[in-house]
Symmetry: C2
Amino acid sequence: MTAAAGDGTVAKALEVLDLVAGFGHPVRFSDLLDHSPYPKATLYRLLQTLVAQRMLSFDPDRSTYTLGLRLVRLAHAAWDQSALAPIARPHLDVLSAEVGETVHLAQMDHAQVLYVDKRNARDPIPMYSQAGKVGPAYCTGVGKAMLAYLPERDLPGILSQQSWHPFTPKTVTSTAAMMQELATIRARGFAFDDEEHEPGIICVAVPILSTGGAVLGALSVTSTTARTTLDNLAQLAPRITQIARTIGQETTNWRFPEETAHPNRKRA
Amino acid sequence: MTAAAGDGTVAKALEVLDLVAGFGHPVRFSDLLDHSPYPKATLYRLLQTLVAQRMLSFDPDRSTYTLGLRLVRLAHAAWDQSALAPIARPHLDVLSAEVGETVHLAQMDHAQVLYVDKRNARDPIPMYSQAGKVGPAYCTGVGKAMLAYLPERDLPGILSQQSWHPFTPKTVTSTAAMMQELATIRARGFAFDDEEHEPGIICVAVPILSTGGAVLGALSVTSTTARTTLDNLAQLAPRITQIARTIGQETTNWRFPEETAHPNRKRA
DNA sequence: AAAACAAGTTTCAAATAATGGAACCTGCAA
DNA sequence: TTGCAGGTTCCATTATTTGAAACTTGTTTT
């Protein structure tokens, strides 16, 4: 269902990678077997391939599998290459210093929100430990901010993939209600998360748009009801929006450096 | 040569991933075609698969490929799961604060050194931008520190894979000389890099060992000949060793939490 | 405007690799 | 010794991958 089927060996191998990643700790063959749709021999061979490719590493003492170092290497490249995250980093530092609250940078992945960077309030937790996590789009500030500015034709598909699980009494739980909410967000220019995901957690979020208007990601400042109110957070919106606009512009320039002319490209 | 051949579709797909990663920026189909051993149609289908799996993302406006968000997600998991890096992190912070110089955490990957975390001297560059790089084992402090404590039976294989390129006049450039050097390192307990990789760059490095003596990684403090000397750096060795031992112990405990007894494990 | 071209996409029979049920190891425990 | 669970290997069947060539599409050149 997730992927795979008669899709391709690559898909299956990646599903196995996800499976190992999901455990969050070294796993034995039989653990994986119990949780995978593949027969013993198939899974075994997939694991062998992945280990040979160093996408997984195998600890012979414990006979367990872990995610491999090649993955870390690729990730480094992925991060550097993604236009948004490296460009946004210094701006996150600035924003974090100014507001002193938790700051999130997120992008859409599939129909979910992927946190790609983060600054913590007091003593900042290094991003790696936090980023990389995915969250629901329909009940987070960053998620709603992005949804609100997505092309209309993409929305139905994405909304239909939301779980609409009512995490709290304030969670928006239907496509219809969400369409309403998104209109409000567009009118307002930024999104709130009013304890829709976790009780006591509130945030303001703004979309990061390319100069062409495409959604690149979202930026948010998060706090708790114990410390502040939505109204107070709303005060920050102009500043956050300003920073998001800068990030959007810089990213657009990075992605389309030769806006003025397009001379013949030559190959390597 | 690198991998693949008649090896498996997965290997080929991963090679394509590496290829994209190698460019360091979005690439067009034809760029990849020029640098890949695969015929047009094959490469095309591999790319399609990877995009479908969100390991790559395709920008239709520019018709370019970039590393995808699924990769970022997997990589974060890889980092979190690797026993060494998350455990070492706070210790790196401590060491960095104490010595005020560049600190590296590395692991062996294949026969090379993979930097998995880093602290910079003045204003620390966040790790993601630096870590993930690989370097040669035979001419870096961390590399030699790890080589010195590897099981003897693994050494020949690994040494035979070194390029022995003489980066500087001081670079060790033969297996024989290296065996000598490794003996010295074992006797001394830590390794130097005496401008063997880059002129003017020197460092002290110690291995991080499990309580069983297995090489988990290495920890180093790097500086320049303009700022200090090897003798001065050597003064730091006891402290670095102490920290490395702590990291080694904590990591060992994390990996083998039930050292005392091993009751019947049950499955999920 | 027509022709030539470059870049990307699709086709299809042949070749190859993946599949998975079952047999087979290998400790370890009863 | 026997039984058993966790791993590993076999191999005929099956399904996927392969890649030369044909085909689109969009862009220069004449």
